[in-house]
Subunit: 155 residues, 4 copies
């Protein structure tokens, strides 16, 4: 049995179990999401839901949440969705439209869904809402799969 | 002399001096940019240059700079460029394309330039390079001017 | 009774009837959509479905449908969706991602839905599929409402 | 000498000559650009300039040039720029921002420049101006190189 077989042997066959394992491994190494207080609510193949509370140090000069943190939340949800099949996948580009401002202490939820996956590239939509369900931002990410596994099943 | 005249009286006529005054006022209130270690290198009417050093807490699960921080740097440069005429201006949408990864300790420079300004809306391009001049990301922001002055000249 | 009252009197109160009336008026004047063979399948407030058959003169140097025609189809569906409330509304910007090529004689369907409408600005998503249901392109449009009515009810 | 060597033998070494040869070959097959009256003004490695006159059949219901034709012009310039090294390259996604309307008989010029080219993917900016030099639209295209040559040198 070679190394690759050994890796395969320790990874779950079930896509949902694999998505959860890959996400846990990824989150443990994702210093940025942790530092921003971003939490993973749920993950499934091609989908992820994450939350973030707007902190005082996330406010810009207009006293609303700096667009970079809204983007970061969306980008994290996108990353967890597109790596959920345990294939290392990176962002090639993203766009975001801001619909309403977010304020200090707002609890934001980002829901990422896979719209398309063909060959190495995918398209993901992420919607951010606040605690009242108000739409705050809409994001579209383009992903590109590179070599490697998110987790080999034993880290 | 009414209040408005008083405000006008304390603001510089020179566009460059006004850009510097507005930026200083904005930066002082921009907790987010400060917390990210983003510094304003230069500003002029419609333009801004900002820098950021990639810290360990900005790395994602792939050990490269989380896209959200690249976006934040670009978004800050965009914000300072589009508020440089002292008219409160917000982002309506942005797109970013990632060209090369950034790593811990990289020193990134974002240069924002105004491509178009007509009525209330503007288009700004931001280029991010690293300390070797390598292109890391390219960003385009759409701005929307709302009511109010960035600084009344005495805060 | 002034002119404005007269106009109001001839326009339907029912949003669906108004959407149909506005669309008919708009389509009659839309030389471009007509010349491209774009047809309006259905319209309702904030939504529109349009179809287009890929012709030989729509092929690029790679013998697939030129991206400009995919964009045109999406852009038309977007325009009919965002003008469906009879308020003149224009595009401020759009993005499109190409998922699969379209070939000569393909029958493409573009479905536009309103994601957000706040103040003068809106966000619309348009999905293009071919006759087999395959996803060909995904488009996002940003709209801006200007002055005027699409139809005064008697043209 | 195998077929591949034969092909290489008939293609010019000079990048500028190769860009011109590839563009000519591509334009001859580009029914769409021809039908739109789009003309190639100049091409060089990574760059292309194309023009188009706005015709009556390009007007939308607001009597301005349908966004799809502005997009088509930009998309053609982008395509010629990114195929100028004779490697078959397609668009993966594009965004466009509309700055000012174009009217019937306006002569539009699209200038495409390569911002980045790394591995198989590139980023191109296209600016559209009218006959007075007014900025009409700004476009960003993402390219993806696939297999094949634009011209084998003898078609």
């Amino acid at each position: 049995m070679d190394t690759n077989d050994a890796v395969q042997a320790t990874l779950p066959d079930d896509p949902q179990a694999l998505a959860e394992l890959a996400s846990q491994s990824m989150y443990d190494k994702d210093t940025a999401s942790q530092a921003l207080g971003i939490k993973l609510t749920s993950v499934s193949p091609g989908e992820a839901v994450m939350t973030m509370t707007v902190r005082a140090d996330m406010l810009n000069g207009h006293k609303t949440c700096h667009g970079g943190f809204l983007f970061s939340l969306a980008d994290s949800a996108f990353a967890f969705a597109c790596n959920s099949r345990n294939q290392v996948t990176v962002a090639s580009g993203c766009s975001i439209d801001f619909l309403a401002p977010a304020f200090e202490d707002d609890v934001l939820t980002a829901t990422a869904t896979e719209y398309s996956l063909a060959g190495r590239t995918g398209i993901y939509d992420v919607h951010i809402t606040n605690q009242t369900g108000k739409r705050v931002a809409v994001f579209r990410g383009r992903s590109y799969r590179i070599k490697g596994l998110v987790t080999a099943g034993h880290d």
